[in-house]
Structures are given as structure tokens and as C-alpha cells.
Assembly symmetry: C2
Homo-oligomer: 166 residues x 2
């Protein structure tokens, strides 16, 4: 039985030691997860905060500032600083809302899409390598545990982003 994760009928025996290993796995893996984009970003004047904004604008083109605030979980002032530099540098475009003119709909410009592609290519390459090394069953489990680890509100955000998936 591998690493004592299970007993007879799917009951889990979870020692503190096993849980601690999961915790450290998250810590070290997250470092790897962000390492490649971080390397690209530091050559420009951007950081992880810019990456996150770019990612979610790419994911949901036309999203509003409020939506982004909810997803990223930061303050308006903090996001604004990041968004400001992306708009000034011509990576993001903010169009006045059509039905509600108070809103700003956010889009990546071609230049923004270029950077998005660079960043996500790097991140996907690592993810793909990890998936291949681990195999299909592991991938399924990986996603299942991560989803269970999210706060309910974040899980909703995550799942709503997955709409349109088969």
C-alpha cells in the first residue's frame, strides 16, 4: 500500500506527518509554478501582480474592474496601480461600458496578447511536463484535491470560469 493513504474501503488514515508532507509539497510546487513567468517578468518592469491581471483579462475579455477585484481579492487601489501601468504601456485597453458607462471593459491589446502568450507558454510547458511525468490518473487527483482545498467562494469563481467546458 503506497504511503499509507488508504485502508480497506477508501477510508483515509491521515497522520500529521502525511499532512505535513502535503503542505510542504504545496509550498515547493508553488515556487516552481511561478518560477518561469517570474523570470520573464523581471526582465520587464512587471511582477506577479501584472501577470495575474493579464491572465484573467485574457481569460475573460471585456471583464470589468469590479469583476477583476473579486477574482484577484485585492483592493481597488492595489489593482489600479497595476492596471494603470499596463494601460499606460499599451498592453491593456479600458473601454467605457456600453450599457453602463460607469464600467470599464478590459481587453488585451495585441501587445498585451504577446506578453500573455509568452507567460502562459512558459507556465503551460511546466504544467504539461508535470502532467506527463505524473500520468492521467494523477492529474485527475491533482485537480480534485486542489478544488477541495479552495475556499467555497473561490471554488465558485474557479468553476464559473470553467463554464463552456464540456
Amino acid at each position: 500500500m503506497a504511503e499509507g493513504t488508504t485502508g480497506g474501503e477508501g477510508l483515509l488514515f491521515l497522520t500529521d506527518e502525511q499532512l505535513r508532507k502535503g503542505i510542504e509539497a504545496m509550498f515547493f510546487a508553488y515556487r516552481g509554478f511561478t518560477a518561469d513567468p517570474d523570470r520573464i517578468l523581471e526582465t520587464m518592469d512587471y511582477g506577479r501582480a501584472h501577470h495575474r491581471a493579464i491572465h484573467f483579462i485574457h481569460r475573460s475579455p471585456g471583464t470589468t474592474v469590479s469583476n477583476l477585484l473579486a477574482i484577484l481579492g485585492v483592493t481597488k487601489q492595489s489593482l489600479n496601480r497595476v492596471l494603470r501601468s499596463l494601460i499606460d504601456d499599451g498592453l491593456v485597453e479600458a473601454r467605457v461600458g456600453k450599457s453602463d458607462k460607469r464600467e470599464r471593459n478590459l481587453y488585451l491589446t495585441p501587445k498585451g496578447q504577446d506578453l500573455e502568450r509568452q507567460l502562459s507558454d512558459a507556465q503551460r510547458a511546466r504544467m504539461r511536463a508535470a502532467y506527463r511525468a505524473a500520468g492521467p490518473a494523477a492529474v485527475q487527483g491533482f485537480r480534485t484535491v486542489l478544488e477541495a482545498m479552495m475556499d467555497p467562494e473561490m471554488r465558485r469563481q474557479y468553476q464559473s470560469l470553467r463554464e463552456g467546458e464540456k
Copy 2:
């Protein structure tokens, strides 16, 4: 076939869309992962950096400052600031090395152990809940993918911390 992760004989069909979902899963799950300790820490004057130091000193009592630097991947000055406050507040003790008096061996005081327990109890509770909700097979896969996602150097750190495990 669940979510198209596999074809016939274990070959993975990984669309960009699937990889992106894995990326977002990491993002949202990491937020959940740190949420509980963060809530505890903010009531005191500590942050995530203090938590990391406490965690690894607890994990390897008597570890040196250099070891900690290698594991945490920050600069000496950055770690020193955190360590300084923990020592001043009586959570960590730095004993002059026995064989090499330049080294400082780090230990948690009883007060430090109290905080460590609070933090790890909270973090383990979430991890345990996620593990239970996902099931044993998923847990196995979770750990496998995370390990594959680490940088080789970090993987060694991770695995060396696991020595002594059966």
C-alpha cells in the same frame, strides 16, 4: 472518459484549455492553502515569512541559518529581519553552534511551539478536509503532480526533508 485527460494506453491529450484550468486551480487553491494561517498571523504582528521560518525550524530543530536560507530561497538580510523579531519575541532560540561556533542552531521555544501548533493545526485541518473529500487515489495523484512541478533543486530539498519516512 473523465475530462479528456487520457486516451487509450495512458497517453495524455493535453489541450491548452486543460492546462489553463490546472494553472487556475493552483492559483485559487494556494489562496485557500494560506488563508487560515494568514488569519491567525495577522492578529499578531507576523506575516507569511514568519510562518515559513517557524515551520521549517519546527521541522528540522537545530537547523542553521544557512540551511534555512537554502530552503526558503530568500536573502540573508530578509531572513534575518524575520528571525530577529522571532528571537526578540522569544519564539525562537539561536544557540551558538557546538562544533562550529560561527553557526547558529535554531530551535523553537515553548512559546514558539505554541504558535507553530496553532498554525499547523489550522493548515492541516484544511488539508485533511480536502484529502477526505477527494479520496485516497486523488491524494496520491496530487502529491505526484506537485512533486513533478518542483524545480529539481527544490525537489531535492523536499525529498531530503522526507528522509526517515517509510
